[in-house]
Symmetry: C2
Subunit: 235 residues, 2 copies
DNA sequence: TTCATTCCTTGATCTAAATCAGGATTTTCG
DNA sequence: CGAAAATCCTGATTTAGATCAAGGAATGAA
């Protein structure tokens, strides 16, 4: 069996501003923001970016790799609340009373951060940045809520189809291919996130492959028939 | 059968500041905020506070009654994403590209609002208000995410127990009884929210009543054994 | 009050997906 | 590289909860 092409996505020389706040700021404001952005050491697979209950330190932008956010329950169980791909911001959960989940790298991942103090100052000084942060947080709320729609009373196939279409759309928005992208997370993690057993994830992916809607080679997913796949979402 | 006592919860003469931003603002700032808060006509049962896709107009605080937020899918199906009780803020979903859900009164409800322009000005002028809004939005993100935990791989009893404990805690925080409170929403709505059939909601409530953990009379729910009920959550 | 509507409960049946089990494949790392 | 570990796939069985069905309370309007 041929070795599947390994590929990874990254935003080289990224900055928080470039990646996440397109057109919201003018050049001077961008520079102000840039100057406050801190680089962060590379995260190995399994490394923590921040931990549950830790006080808020920074907002982070993923430059390359993938993070998952996890709620750890008392009994050691874990529930994944989100995956974060290059260009996406993670950390909004921590602004109230510290982080309510942990952020873990599921592969080698690089990020940069905007520290709290800088965020506090800049959002006061730059109205358009303030509005942009409000917008981004609002979008996170919307995203989480649409996830409720994905979980409640949906079949396993509908959940997987929704998940794949969602990934595709997010990669497209960030300038990557919407048709072929890495599926960095394990079946176990997908199942955990979507509220189903890993075995079921596997079965559904097999079914979708057999129906020629997708193909999966190693970590690389290809959408063969986006239209038909969208139908399986079945709103 | 005796008629159950009807009771409703309300925050009389409430203001956004008093209800939601305790201790964050000084007297002068409070007055600034107060002066911008707009009263809103009473909402009858079933009335819309705002509609899906409507541009953002205000943040609203519930003074009395209950609202639900609903995503309407193309096929006419609806998914409830949240319930909002007296003292809680609704509308954060609209700050990005307009409202992504509708807010509907499930009983006679009164609210007051903070218009966008006022929010924009005041969050610029008052750093502590800005931080408070960030905190409130962060909390909404956290709430939605913990809902994912409630929905994913939980039994129907665990979901209902979680839902009831959550309501109890929210009423307690707002100064109402944590032990006896109104269950304003229909079984159908609870089921929709928790991703289960209305019949199952009914069965689980019956089981919990039979086990003497709760009692339900009309719209009034009483928690008879909070400790045992908490165990049914099964983290 | 009475009637109509909506809401709630309970029972019987059916099904999607969990669980259990085993083997195959891929990845990791010394 | 090669062995160990992790991950993935597929089949058989079981079960929680959906669905179908019907009668009973509560609510609201006339």
């Amino acid at each position: 069996m041929r070795t599947p092409p390994k590929f990874s996505l990254s935003c080289r020389d990224c900055s928080l501003a470039e990646l996440c706040l397109p057109r919201a700021l003018d050049t001077e404001e961008l520079e102000q923001l840039e100057s406050k952005v801190k680089q962060h050491p590379v995260l190995a697979r399994g490394a923590l970016l921040y931990n549950l209950r830790e006080p808020f330190h920074s907002l982070y932008v993923v430059k390359s790799g993938t993070l998952k956010t996890v709620i750890n329950t008392a009994s050691g169980e874990e529930q994944i609340t989100g995956f974060f791909m290059p260009g996406e911001i993670v950390g909004f959960d921590g602004l109230d009373t510290g982080h309510t989940c942990s952020a873990v790298a599921i592969e080698r991942t690089t990020v940069c951060g905007l520290p709290l103090a800088a965020m506090d100052d800049l959002t006061g000084a730059i109205p358009s940045l303030r509005r942009e942060i409000f917008r981004l947080m609002s979008r996170e709320i919307t995203t989480d809520q649409s996830m409720l729609l994905t979980l409640a009373r949906r079949t396993s196939e509908e959940r997987i189809a929704t998940f794949l279409m969602n990934l595709s759309e997010r990669f497209r928005k960030r300038g990557f291919s919407a048709v072929q992208f890495p599926l960095a997370m394990a079946r176990q993690d997908i199942g955990n996130y979507l509220g189903m057993a890993a075995e079921t994830v596997s079965r559904v992916l097999t079914n979708l492959s057999d129906a020629n809607l997708i193909s999966v080679h190693g970590r690389v997913l290809t959408v063969l028939n986006p239209t038909s796949l969208a139908l399986r979402v079945g709103q």
